[in-house]
Amino acid sequence: MPRNRNIVNAQLMNTKSTPAPAGDLHPLAAKSMSGAEVIVQVLADEGVDVMFGYSGGAILPVYDAVFRYNATHPNDDGSEPLPLIVPANEQGAGFMAAGYARASGKVGVAVVTSGPGATNMVTPVRDSMADSIPMVVICGQVGVAAIGSDAFQEAPVSTIMGACAKHVFLVTDASVLEATLRTAFEIARSGRPGPVVVDVPKDVQNTALTFAGQGQLPIPGYRARLRNVQSAQLDDAGCASFFDALAQARRPLIYAGGGVIASGAAEALRDFVADFGLPVTTTLMGLGAFDTTDPLALHFLGMHGTAYANYAVEDCDFVLTLGARFDDRVAGVPDKFAPRAKFIAQVDIDPAEIGKVKAVDWHHIGDLRRTLERLREYGAAHGIHPRQDGRYAAWHAHIAELKRVHALNYDHDSELIQPYAVIEAINRITDGHAIISTGVGQHQMWAAQYFDYRAPRHWLSSGSMGTMGFGLPAAIGAQFARRDATVIDIDGDGSIRMNLGELETVTTYGLPVKIVLLNNRGDGMVRQWQKLFFKGRFASSDKSLHTKDFIKAVQADGFTWARRLERKEELADTIAEFLAFEGPAFLEVMIDPDAGVYPMVGPGMSYAQMITGDFIASRQRAAGDETLRNDMF
């Protein structure tokens, strides 16, 4: 590995991290430490207050250093400063770290051993990459000399993770370990956030080092590009052309994605809407970026978005895209997305997302919060106040009417418990303030649709990867991030099985996590697609013959509050009791196995072809819808 890191290019040179000014020395600078101790000290310096991981031979030096650090640096209340939370499976640790990061905005940290420990971490790393979640994953690796020898518990982590993560470091030179760790945090949290994997051979963990207390790796290309986007200021001409186009619009709409949450721009968005009066629909990932109970909020759009959001997209004549990427679950047919929009604007921190799927008429690459604030300033300085002028009065009335006529709805008269009613009952109590995590499937979509989300970081769901098994460990991680918050995992009987071992993690750590299992005896979402596209042949998705007794299972794992709800009349009382319980609680609800997720914009279809089901009003009750419905069953 090259030691010479001088960069020839003078312009790039300037972007090298500046050493901390003298006098600002780390109190432990020049102290002798092992590589493992260096790792733990950098974690502490980075503000890490919990980590998740499973031990093994190749990571033991780090685990021992964590143990010693905790023993010698207790918090005032005697608790450990760096608790290491042990899951049942490394995938659980990865999703706990991701849940922690999603709920807090801080970097989640997971520490695992080599080989199988590292490969079990691949799914959460990919999941976090796809949803832009900041994580640092430290993997033990076989000794430097053994790399490439098919050693015991060796896996090509840098190759595997390199294809999945924002970045991966294999530290073969112990002298750069400290700078590498610090750089990993910098990369994870900067720009478009993502997971960074640091693969540390065991002998590097055991090397005697001198702690520097400062310094990062030179990554001049990345830093130069980052500085460019971060300093990019929307100029007057850019603002002017934005507002000129807006001035032509009568029905403008904001389409806001997870980027609003990642960049901490939710408040700026609220202020922007207060000033200019553009209604807001978010993506699934953007839930909470704008208070869903606001009169101008359209909840979320896309494949299973609300009908009124999707119709508003059909009707709008101007789209302002904020930190969203026209993903195929939103713009299945990019050409038909927002077909009446004469102008599409896009703001993103990632240049590669501009125009990637859909050509836009105006864009700005830069920080969302600052961009929104800049547009507000410009608007204020130039007397632009369309909302106060009543320019959108008709559009706002139209939006209100769409929300009224095409509201979410379901079969209220059924004898069977409807999943939507379960979520509504919880929401009546939590009122948009609970942190909700989910598995993947119908229950995930119902949770997205029927809960209110009043603030960012309350909706934790595997959006892009759609990873079953996410919900339970993510809830655990979130509870560590927000110890006083109500954290509820809305899970499916298929999804929860995937990381069922983490039930015990909940009780081991005494977390007051609430788990709601919407049991439809099978892979409901798969069945829904099989009904639609495979003439109802339920290949492997029906689990009515499965024998698991979830209540016994959770009791075996130490849940003292565990109940199965089968009678509709008991719904409200049971949920009130369940939520009021102080400790971990598990509620299994036997729901109507035929309950579907509506609306649905089928793959390859436009919003105009959206199916709304039997209980949500559709605009095209006529021709199109009926043909589709006949096909369905």
Partner: protein, 84 residues
């Protein structure tokens, strides 16, 4: 639809473990075929220079160039269309 043409990308890359694999992997995972690839040392031993040629329409090439710029150890990417 844009016409498919030959494009030459020149990538200055930090000489880190796995950096070359990440560049090659990026092209493979986004289904771009690399027609030719030449890796050379530079005066600075910490930097290598990759010259690779691919075929694609302009929009596809713009996208892969942007994706390449997201790789941490990439210093610079320059791009030339070579009509054939």
């Amino acid at each position: 639809m844009n016409a498919v043409t030959q494009h030459t990308l020149t990538i200055m890359l930090q000489n880190e473990t796995g950096a070359l694999v990440r560049v090659a992997g990026l092209f493979a995972s986004r289904s771009y075929n690399i027609d030719s690839l030449n890796v050379a040392a530079t005066a600075d031993p910490a930097i290598s220079k990759l010259v690779l040629s691919i075929r694609g329409d302009d929009q596809a090439v713009v996208q892969i160039v942007r994706q390449t710029r997201k790789l941490i150890d990439v210093l610079e990417v320059s791009h030339q269309a070579t009509a054939d």
